[in-house]
């Protein structure tokens, strides 16, 4: 009995992943058609990107400050506080920037995408569009997907910049590290392509994954208020898991 149930859970999980993959292909096929609705894409970039700036900037500042504080104390044990700028920059650009931005993005923008599309599904708006010969994939889903892919790297860059600023604030202005040491060590060991752009590629992939999961959960939600609630929760859970798992795989390949 137990084995059968476990098997059916695994099968259901696999079916979800498969349906999500097919949904991705359908979005990609609808992308050329969605270029007609460029205004809608611009609007979505505003909603998922510009509206997320506040939370991204505040979190970036505090992540940078806490990194500066923690690493300063750890590095001072080895007399290596001169490396503070390097360590903060590398950990932000390579890991923390893209990953934390993706997690915040899933919570801030992914949930609203799911809830919006889910309610469209529950109130039959998506079916109405199909009746009017408007492809909901091209008009509703693809612009949000594109907006996520565009917005996420930019948000991660803003996050990184604020993080560096926060680390500088704590390390140099508060703890008294030399400003020249902080910057010169950072500039001598951080590389544009292997570090900064590495993080940008990562966050573009995270943007695609997070918005894919959010739109998929909204599009396939059971058309009830409970179903929308569950779909929103699943968006955050699956987005977080997918982000961290893909981060590991991408790091292994990009290193």
């Amino acid at each position: 009995m137990n084995a059968v149930r476990r098997q059916s859970i695994i099968a259901a999980g696999l079916a979800q992943v498969g349906a999500c993959g097919i949904f991705l292909l359908r979005i990609l096929r609808a992308l050329p058609g969605s270029l007609r609705y460029l205004r809608e894409t611009v609007r979505q970039v505003f909603f998922v990107g510009a509206m997320s700036l506040t939370i991204i900037m505040i979190c970036g500042l505090f992540v940078g400050m806490v990194l500066g504080l923690q690493l300063y104390h750890t590095l001072s044990i080895f007399g290596g506080t001169a490396a503070l700028g390097t360590v903060v920059a590398l950990s932000l650009y390579r890991e923390l920037g893209p990953v934390v931005t993706a997690l915040l993005f899933a919570g801030r923008a992914g949930t609203s995408i799911t809830a919006e599309i889910g309610l469209m599904r529950a109130t039959d708006q998506l079916d109405a569009m199909e009746m009017m010969a408007v492809d909901p994939l091209a008009y509703v889903v693809a612009p949000r997907f594109l907006a996520g892919v565009i917005a996420m790297p930019l948000l991660a860059c803003v996050f990184n910049a604020l993080g560096i600023f926060g680390a500088h604030l704590v390390g140099v202005n508060w703890l008294g590290l030399d400003s020249g040491t902080f910057w010169s060590n950072m500039t001598s060991s951080v590389d544009v392509w292997t570090d900064v752009m590495n993080g940008v590629w990562k966050s573009a992939v995270f943007g695609a994954v997070c918005t894919l999961i959010a739109t998929f959960q909204g599009y396939t939600t059971p058309p009830t208020s409970e179903g929308v609630a569950y779909a929103t929760t699943r968006t955050v859970v699956f987005s977080s898991i997918a982000t961290l798992a893909i981060d590991f795989v991408m790091t292994a390949f990009l290193m």
Binding site: R39, R43, G80, V158, T187, S189, V192, V196
Partner: protein, 171 residues
């Protein structure tokens, strides 16, 4: 219509801000910030061992950065390292009998080339060669010397594979 305009302006501002942040990260916090825009001249120095010296490592006079390492190559017949130092044109008063040495910043920091000014009345010009050079200090060699009491040749040979293995950690 007015609302649509707001969205477009907001989106434009957001994208501008994002790219500004990216440009800031790429040009101010990475090795790109060390590129000198100004013109420079090249001088050549030969070392028997450059240790972990890397491309774009700083060249310093009296601790002040005056240029960077532009090229590292092995001289095929002499089997020594030919290091090209690219020095800013601003610093054109470096006597041509100055000595070049490879030092380490801090105990475990990155390596750099230090130019120790000589007293010659003529200065380095593009393509000149530094005659007096001092190779990088190898920690393993020093330890070997200390342990076996001056038998540096053997210890150096033994230490070399280790140095090569630790040299390829991160570019």
């Amino acid at each position: 219509m007015a609302q649509r305009q707001t969205f477009q302006v907001g989106t434009g501002l957001f994208i501008l801000l994002g790219f500004a942040a990216l440009a800031y990260l790429a040009t101010q916090t990475t090795s790109l910030a060390n590129y000198r825009q100004g013109p420079s001249y090249d001088i050549v120095a030969r070392f028997t061992n450059i240790g972990q010296l890397k491309l774009r490592a700083p060249v310093k006079v009296a601790g002040v950065r005056v240029g960077s390492v532009a090229g590292i190559a092995l001289e095929p017949d002499k089997l020594d390292a030919k290091v090209t130092l690219s020095v800013d044109d601003r610093y054109d008063k470096i006597p041509d009998d100055s000595a070049a040495a490879i030092f380490t910043s801090g105990l475990l920091g990155d390596q750099y080339v230090a130019l120790q000014p000589g007293g010659s009345p003529t200065n380095f010009k593009n393509g000149d060669e530094v005659v007096l050079t001092q190779s990088s200090m190898q920690l393993e060699e020093l330890i070997g010397k200390y342990l076996v009491g001056g038998d540096a040749g053997k210890a150096g040979d033994k230490a070399k594979p280790d140095a090569a293995a630790s040299g390829d950690k991160k570019e």
